[in-house]
Each structure stands twice: as structure tokens, then as C-alpha cells.
């Protein structure tokens, strides 16, 4: 099955054609490449205590692609993101049902070690959260924790490589031993991305990674996201429709805990199959 061709909608495409074309945001991202599916979500239901946050979500996330989750606050998109790397396990009242298949393994299974899942699937948060240690130690945290490196020279090389991939090396190479907290917001967020890259994750989850950043820092991160997709699968939650259009190749729209529509980003933004999606994208939500 070619992911780019799939119509992943929950509901039948029952939309009547519009008589007048809607103004669509500029889409700069290219069409979804026909990348193989890396993660397949099957019948995901998530609960916080008694409250159900996700209802029967089925979605394929392709490799080497940026997949954007969009939707209003509280629609479940962040919850779904946190299902992917078992972060919900750290919340005692949270419960996630369904299967999350990656390389044929159900990583949502209770038999799977969440700690190992999180080394394969990295995460970047809304606000930059560098650890209170030097820039070098921040990057070395993952390799040291998981004993991935051999000699000190190996580690040095890994730190440099990670910082280069996160487009931060030139800015910090002279102060690797200074605290990571001394960097600007945008640099901190790139530091966190570099820290994630240091353990070579197959997937990077980003939960509104630019919401605390100014437009220039945001542009840096977005450019970086585009580069990273060469080697990794990226899932990004964003409130900014423009950002989703700029950086993603696939988009999934959520509403009230349900996946409403998903597909190639340019299709979602120009020719959504459902009125609900159309209304949200054009700002007539509510």
C-alpha cells in the first residue's frame, strides 16, 4: 500500500463540492513522497482517569516524512503524540488502548519496555528544556545514559555531529562547557533537538516546538525539520496552520479526540474532503 495514495479518513467522503474556491494558505512543501509506513496506529483509545481523550484513531505515519497533527486545543493531538513514545506511562491515571506497530512490534504492548521505546522515538517539547548542565553534557546525556559511546573521542565526535545536524555547532563550538541554560530560546530548542539526535532516534516527536520562539528562531527550527526528514520520521503537533503547511508533507486533523481527516498536506489544505476540515483550516472553526 502506498501511503501517499491512501485516504485515511474516518468518515466517508460525503462532502458536496463547493461552488466557490476557498482561499488556501500558501503551500511550500512538496507532495508527500511515497515513503513506506513506519508506524501504524490501530484503534487507539486513550483515557485520563474516566475521561476519554482519544476515540479509535487509525493512522499510518510514513518514514522520512513530516506528519503534522493539527486541531484545536484539547482535540487529543498532543495525547496521541505522547502515546507514540509511551510518555503517557509517566502519568499514573493515563491509559492507552490499541496497537502502535513499528517494525512489526506493538510498542504499546505492556510487555515492551517504555524506556527502550523512548530511545528509538525522541521527543521535543513546547518549551525548550535543556538540562541544567553544560552544552556538551546535554548532548552527551543520552549516549552516556545508554552507554552508546566508546572512548571520549567517540563521544566528542558524536556531540559535534549531533550539534552540526541541529545547525547549532557554529554558534556553540567555543562554549561547549558553558551551561545550556545560557543560550537563547531558539538555540535551546536546537540544543534539545541535538540532544535527541545524539541517540539516533528513528522518529522525532515535536509538541509545538516553536510555540515559545520568535519568528526568526521558528524559521531556523522549520528549516532544520526539513533537513532532518532525510534520515528520520518526524511527527509535529502545531497550532499554526501556516507552519503545518510549510513543514509537513502529511497532515492529520483532529477534533474532540477523533481523527477527522488525514492525507497529503497540500490536499488537506487545498481540497479537504470534509467541511469540518475546511472550516478549521480557513479559520471558521467553532
Amino acid at each position: 500500500m502506498v501511503a501517499g495514495m491512501t485516504i485515511d479518513t474516518q468518515q466517508p467522503a460525503a462532502r458536496t463540492p463547493r461552488t466557490t474556491p476557498m482561499a488556501a494558505p500558501t503551500v511550500t512543501a512538496t507532495s508527500a513522497a511515497a515513503a513506506p509506513t513506519l508506524i501504524r496506529l490501530e484503534h487507539i483509545n486513550a483515557f485520563y482517569g474516566q475521561k476519554q481523550a482519544l476515540f479509535d484513531v487509525n493512522l499510518d505515519i510514513p518514514d522520512n516524512t513530516v506528519t503534522a497533527f493539527i486541531g484545536a486545543s484539547g482535540c487529543g493531538k498532543s495525547t496521541l503524540l505522547r502515546c507514540l513514545n509511551r510518555m503517557n506511562d509517566t502519568i499514573p491515571s493515563a491509559r492507552v488502548e490499541g496497537a502502535i506497530r513499528m517494525d512489526g512490534t506493538d510498542i504499546n504492548s505492556p510487555a515492551i519496555d517504555p524506556v527502550q521505546v523512548r530511545t528509538r522515538i525522541g521527543m521535543v517539547f513546547q518549551k525548550p528544556n535543556p538540562f541544567p548542565m553544560s552544552i556538551y553534557d546535554n548532548i552527551a546525556y543520552g549516549p552516556r545514559t545508554h552507554k552508546l559511546h566508546g572512548s571520549k573521542a567517540d563521544l566528542d565526535e558524536l556531540v559535534e555531529k549531533s550539534l552540526r545536524r541541529a545547525a547549532l555547532w557554529d554558534e556553540v563550538k567555543d562554549r561547549l562547557n558553558k551551561s545550556g541554560l545560557g543560550l537563547s530560546g531558539g538555540q535551546q530548542q536546537r540544543l534539545v533537538i541535538a540532544r535527541t539526535l545524539a541517540v539516533s532516534p528513528a522518529v522525532i516527536l515535536m509538541d509545538e516546538p516553536c510555540s515559545a520562539l520568535d519568528p526568526i528562531a521558528t524559521a531556523h527550527i522549520e528549516a532544520l525539520i526539513d533537513q532532518l526528514r532525510e534520515h528520520t520520521c518526524i511527527v509535529i503537533v502545531t497550532h499554526s496552520m501556516a507552519q503545518a503547511a510549510r513543514v509537513s508533507q502529511r497532515t492529520a486533523f483532529f477534533h474532540m479526540g477523533k481523527l477527522i481527516e488525514s492525507g497529503p498536506t497540500d490536499q488537506i489544505f487545498t481540497m479537504p474532503k470534509l467541511d469540518q476540515t475546511q472550516d478549521y483550516i480557513t479559520g471558521r472553526f467553532g
Binding site: 509517566t90 524506556v115 527502550q116 523512548r118 530511545t119 528544556n129 543520552g142 545514559t145 540532544r195 535527541t196
Partner: protein, 320 residues
Amino acid sequence: MSTPATPAIGARKIHPADTTFRLSLHAAGAVVVIVLLSILAIMFMGGKLAFDTFGLGFIWGTEWNPVTQIYGALPAITGTLVTAILALCIAWPIGFGIAFFLTETCPEKLRTPLGVAIELLAAVPSIVYGMWGFFVLAPFMSEYVQPWLTSTFLWIPPIGDSFFWFTAPPIGVGMLTAALILAVMILPFIAATTRDVLLSTPQLLKDGAYAMGATRWEALTGVVIPAVRGSLFGAVFLGLGRALGETMAVVFVIGNAIRMPDSLMAPSATIASVVANNFPEAEPGTLDLAVLLALGFILFVVSFGVLAVARLLLRQERMS
């Protein structure tokens, strides 16, 4: 041409209620400072005779003899510091353990009851600890703990020929017993403050560590503790400050012997216990009273210093 009447913007007016309120706040703040400074001044003036008689040598004089009227504060200072630090060494790991348990691994339902129980421990009056220490703990120490310690640690070489660590007659009362009581008393402070510090760690920071594939232990030791190290030390210093000044419970179990201790289990005295024991017999205007007030002054300065350090550390490194 007439203009509509508008209220004039300009001249500053006096708002009586606001002014009164502001001044009363100043007064409230001033009271604290005045009380603190006057206590310090009166202690110092009262103890001046002792400092005049013995000079600064009062602080490191080792002899305490009311008959010959020779007084040195070092035995009491030593007793105070040794018991307080021993208490800290016992209470610190346990307090940290309790705090980590409460914040990280404790089942949700047990969290509040356990937290309350620990705070109740702080509410037990010190006289109760004293009596319990004298009637329960001291006999137990004498019968079981001290003989065992003596025989187990006999191999530790003494310091010179005056300090023998754990080699002492098992009489129950002494510095180690006092330190145990103090440890129980400061435990709730350390546990509660540490718990609050850990709870104040931003969830984002912990999530960051978990997202890197850290286990609970790795997140705690590698990320959370480095982030709040200063505050954790602050919690410990708060406990130390309380242990230094504690009086009643210590009077019961320390043995009240004002001499340089020859082991960790020797009967000794702390500044507070010396003052409490000797105050009723000290006549006004005598050297006896001046010495006690001078001791009080020293304790005040030491405790103040420890608390100041604690505040400083607690304020530092609070993550935004």
C-alpha cells in the same frame, strides 16, 4: 464658548487611608528587625563580662569550673556541633529517601496520609521526645547498641589519647543518643522541605529526561537533583539550624557533663543544655550569668549563620 467641566489631572493628592496602610506595613517590618537586633545586643551586653574576663579565649577554653570561676565554651560548642552534625548524618539520607518516595514512587492514595504523618512528627513537643529518649531510647542504647558499637568499631584508632570514637562505658545517655533524638526531630523538616523542592521541579525537565529514555532513577540523579542541588542543601541546613538550638529533648539524654568528650557516646553538653541547666542558679550581675548569656550569644550567631546559608541556598537555583 464653553468647555465641558472635566476633572483636572495634575496635582498630587494625599490619600490618607493608603498612607496609613503603607506606614503600618513599614512598622510591621521594622518590629522584626528591632526585636532581632535588640536580642542580639542585650545578649552581647549581658555576656560582655565573660568576654572581658576571658577575652576571645572564652570561645576555645576547654575548662569549665564554677568553683574556680574559670569558664571556657569549647566543650559546649563541641557538644552542640557534634550532636547536630551526627543528627544530620542520620536524618539526611532517611529524609531524602522519604521525600523521593513521596514524590516519585508512592501510590497516589498514600501520598497525602504519609505527608501528614511526617508533618505530625514535627508537631510532637520536644519534651515528649526528651522523656521518650530518657526512658526508652537510653536504656535500649545502653543495653544493645552501645556494646555492639564498641565491640564492632574497636579497631578504629583513637585520635591522640583523648578521643576513642565508639569506645565508652555503655551508660545510655550521651552525644550519640542525643543525636538520634535530634535526628528524629529534624527528620520531618528535611523530608518536607526536600519533598517541596522536588515537587517544584518543572515537569518539563523530568519529561525531558524520560523522553531521552532515562529511567526514574536516571532522571532523578542525572537531571532533577543537579537542577535543585542548592535547594536540597538548603533543606539540610534548615534541619541543622533546628538541631543546633534544640534544648529540652537534649537536656534529657545528653548526660550534661561539661567537659571535652572522649568518645562519640560520651556524656556531654550543648550550649542550649548548659544554659537551661545553669540558668536558675545564676545570680544577676555575676560572672556565672554573664557566661551563660555569652554562650547564648555564640549560639545565636552560629544558628543565624546556618539559617542565612540555608535561605541563600534555598533561593538559589529555583528553576523558572
